[in-house]
Amino acid sequence: MSEPELAHAGLNLGDTGELTKDQAENAIFGFWIFLMSDAVIFALLFATYGTMIASTVGGPTPASEFKLLPAFVETLLLLTSSATFGRATIAMKYDEPRRVLFGWLGATLGLGLVFLALEANDFATMFAHGAYPMRSGFLSSFFALVGLHGLHVAVACFWLVVMVGQICAYGLDARVRINLLRLGLFWHLLDIVWIAIFSVVYLQGNIG
């Protein structure tokens, strides 16, 4: 096996020529850099949350609002969705039947959507308690951080639907493979960010 193939083992581009391999390298490397700058955005929102956690100005506090159980269930959902996405990548790599690939992608999408639904439910509960972002600096920073993560998940779900459309239209051509791998990176990053949110926001709010 030649080297670029090893460098991007998930792609299995086959005999599509040198040019495609170079493009795959560039595209995925570039996407990594994008993820790094996206990570800076999250880092700043975490920092903002850290400085504003005490700014509750007599309103709801972390201890009064954060429920560990739903957050834990959401964590499990996202972790599982990363696993199913990984399984889909393997189906792509080994050219398994199309329905297997669609099955795993569908499972991933489903888990992502359930996650979003649960998160929306959390938010609605908080709103009902009077814990809305306009109430205090603490709640503003909470909703910006967790909301931005949720927005990323929503974008990732939308992207997944687009990818399914592309697979239907073009099969697994080189561009579809590269894009699916990039979506995978995105999805896994969201998982990592969520772990940080779970630890810094929910665990700290309940225990700390």
């Binding site: 700043l44 903002t48 504003m52 700014s55 972002p133 109430r135 503003s140 910006a144 459309g165 894009n179």
Partner: protein, 699 residues
């Protein structure tokens, strides 16, 4: 600040008749309002005239297919620089207005209202940083970098075009603020809580937020693209330590863009959440904390200084080496110094708010970190001086800019040390001393560098040289104007005159303000000279053509191709065997002839043009416009167009075009034949009419 009654809120959002400067000037014809109306009229008339001329000469199709939708890095680079020059003109005129106001408003109200004056310094700063400096350097990197690396294009041509169009869209918003509504009065840094809804209810701050946000997203994309190009597209054999200095500084700049632009995006978007949805990030009440804004803004703002200055350092390295006929002295130390500056630039941001109440120890730490940056910068200056030492220095226009830079920048550095000491900073904080200091750094450290690069690479891009005489006149005006306009500000600042002051109550400031005002006019003359130079150069281009492509006996690979270069840059990708492959091949015995015919050619794949990037950039600007005026429907539809264009493009296939080897061969051989027919000239005659772009070889 005007907040006029909405006219037809369901359709036009916040818009009311008083949002048109013409209506305001009609109802209240003060000089201030008339100037505003005149500026608005200029934008409208300018747009109409350009459109009419394009129609008259039937150039719309040409413009659209050859330029606006092009994904060619060279054309994208040139379009960036055109934007930079347009915006430079506007921001410079605003500077002149401000200097005039301060010169006449001594114990007198002057001719500009305080609100108008506030808009002027806010647009001046925002434009100079985001829509003059950033497009200029991004354009220059775009044009030059792939050549220097031996690449055929940037890593992501489509993203490159989107970044350009986001910048154009944002610049368009800046222009729109002259015609409808008003601009922020909160300065280029937009500090809350002043910029919160409670204190700035009008559309001005929203214009600022969305223009800056679009611009910073565009810059982040540009940064990713540049970094990827350096990491992945270097020609075979182009190791990192063989890259030209400009490529190195481009890389460091792009890394700064990738990590420093997101903090700006976060700061502006959180401010938008406060303004639009009533969040409390930076408000006075309910737990808001504006220090978070200061930290985030300057976490961007200080590295931004080096985003702006590093590419100019790269230009000077090329220019000094070329026009001294010597290899760059201390190449390795220059690389290390560049990297050191890039890293250190992230460690000093607190010096922008020494006076805001953190402990003395924090201030001391950041003061020392700030002074540390002087060390690698000093290393660079010494390296350039040693490069000139015993070289055959030729005082061409780019070289003159480099020399003026070295003198002036060092002076600015000294005043920087003063500001970096917290106790001294307390004294001159928020005075014109600071204004003098950062203009002292950015005019030589950015503008001179970009103008030097403009002169230096112009013949490469267009195939003819710029007029030398007008170039010198412009240079003289820039330098003289700079000293006249900004050195008085040091005196005024040290005497306690606050920055952003609309009227002055200290008569003894008068002579200094007069000198500064004269300086502003000399700077305007400098810009005018550049315009005249361009016109004269185009008129006389027959006598300054340099088709052979190497007018300055250059070193980098960009000089080894024709001028203007073919779409694919290199007919055959070069093999790199040293630091200055082209120069060595020209001058060293026993090296391959740089103008020899290659043994074979191959098909070259280039990207087709794309309209989607234009649509994305402009629709994003329209969405921003909708948000500014609270025309929600417009914003939603425009956002959907952005998303649809992205999805559409991702479904597209066949987005490349193959140029057959035979065609490449035909073009290349034709150029080589022309090179062989071109008389070579010694480098002493490079500014004379005989220079056709082929350097004489002196062993």
């Amino acid at each position: 600040m005007t907040v006029s009654a909405p006219l037809w809120p369901a359709v036009l959002g916040r818009f009311g008749w008083q949002d048109l400067p013409f209506v305001r000037a009609w109802e209240n014809p003060t000089i201030s309002e008339l100037i505003g109306a005149f500026a608005g009229a200029l934008v409208v008339v300018g747009a109409v005239v350009v459109a009419a001329l394009l129609t008259r000469y039937g150039k719309w199709r040409y413009l659209w297919t050859e330029w606006l939708t092009s994904l060619d890095h060279k054309k994208i680079g040139i379009m960036y620089i055109v934007v930079a020059f347009v915006m430079l003109s506007r921001a410079l005129v605003e500077a002149v207005l401000m200097r005039m106001q301060q010169a006449v408003a001594i114990e007198h109200p002057g001719f500009l209202s305080p609100d108008h004056f506030g808009q002027l310094f806010s647009t001046h700063g925002s434009i100079m940083i985001f829509f003059m400096a950033m497009p200029f350097l991004t354009g220059m990197i775009n044009y030059v970098l792939p050549f220097q690396l031996g690449a055929r294009d940037m890593a992501f041509p489509w993203a490159n075009s989107i970044a350009l169009w986001l910048t154009i869209g944002a610049a368009g918003l800046m222009m729109a603020s002259l015609v409808v509504g008003e601009f922020s009065t909160g300065g280029w840094s937009g500090y809350p809580p002043y910029t919160e809804r409670a204190f700035s209810p009008g559309v001005g701050v929203d214009y600022w937020i969305w223009a800056v946000t679009l611009g910073s997203i565009g810059s982040t994309m540009a940064g990713i693209n540049i970094a990827c190009t350096v990491y992945k597209l270097r020609a075979p054999g182009m190791r990192f330590m063989r890259m030209q200095m400009f490529s190195w500084t481009s890389l460091c700049t792009s890394i700064l863009m990738i990590f420093a632009m997101p903090p700006l995006t976060v700061a502006t978007l959180l401010l938008a959440l406060d303004r639009y949805l009533g969040f409390h990030f930076f408000t006075n009440d309910l737990g808001g904390n504006m220090m978070n804004y200061a930290n985030m803004f300057w976490l961007f703002g200080h590295p931004e200084v080096y985003i702006l200055i590093l590419p100019a350092f790269g230009v000077y390295s090329e220019v000094v080496s070329t026009f001294s006929t010597k290899d760059l002295y201390g190449y390795t130390s220059l690389v290390i110094a560049t990297m050191a500056i890039a890293v250190l630039s992230f460690t000093v941001w607190v010096h922008h708010f020494f006076t805001m109440g953190q402990s003395a120890n924090v201030n001391a730490a950041f003061g020392i970190a700030t002074m540390t940056i002087g060390v690698p910068t000093g290393v660079k200056i010494y390296d350039w001086i040693w490069t000139m030492f015993r070289g055959e220095v030729r005082f061409t226009v780019p070289m003159l800019y480099a020399l003026a830079f070295m003198m002036t920048f060092v002076l600015g550095g000294f005043t920087g040390i003063i500001l970096a000491m917290p106790p001294l900073d307390y004294l001159v904080h928020n005075t014109l001393f600071l204004v003098a200091h950062f203009h002292n750094m950015l005019i030589p450290g950015l503008l001179y560098g970009m103008l030097a690069g403009y002169h230096y690479w112009f013949p490469k891009a267009f195939g003819f040289r710029l007029d030398e005489r007008w170039g010198r006149i412009a240079f003289g005006c820039w330098v003289v104007g700079f000293y006249l306009a900004f050195f008085p500000l040091y005196v005024l600042g040290a005497s306690g005159m606050a920055r952003r002051t609309q009227a002055i109550f200290e008569p003894s400031f008068r002579p200094w303000l007069y000198v500064a005002c004269v300086g502003a006019f000399v700077l305007l003359a400098a810009l005018t000279s550049l315009g005249i130079q361009l016109w004269v150069s185009i008129r006389d281009r027959a006598s300054t053509r340099v088709e052979a492509g190497d007018p300055w006996d250059g070193r980098g690979l960009e000089w080894s191709v024709s001028a203007p270069p073919p779409e694919y840059n290199f007919a055959v990708l070069p093999l790199i065997d040293g630091r200055n492959p082209f120069y060595d091949h020209k001058h060293d015995e026993g090296q391959p002839d740089p103008y020899a015919s290659p043994s074979s050619y191959e098909d070259i794949v280039v990207p087709r043009g794309s309209a989607t990037s234009v649509v994305i950039g402009l629709a994003a600007a329209v969405a921003a416009f909708g948000l500014i005026w609270e025309i929600w429907g417009l914003a939603i539809v425009a956002l959907q167009i952005v998303v649809a264009a992205v999805v559409l493009r991702s479904f597209g296939r066949d987005q490349h075009r193959t140029i057959p080897a035979a065609e490449v061969a035909r073009e290349h051989e034709k150029w080589l034949a022309r090179v062989r027919a071109t008389p070579a000239i010694p480098r002493q005659l490079e500014t004379a009419a005989v220079n056709r772009g082929l350097a004489e070889i002196v062993a």
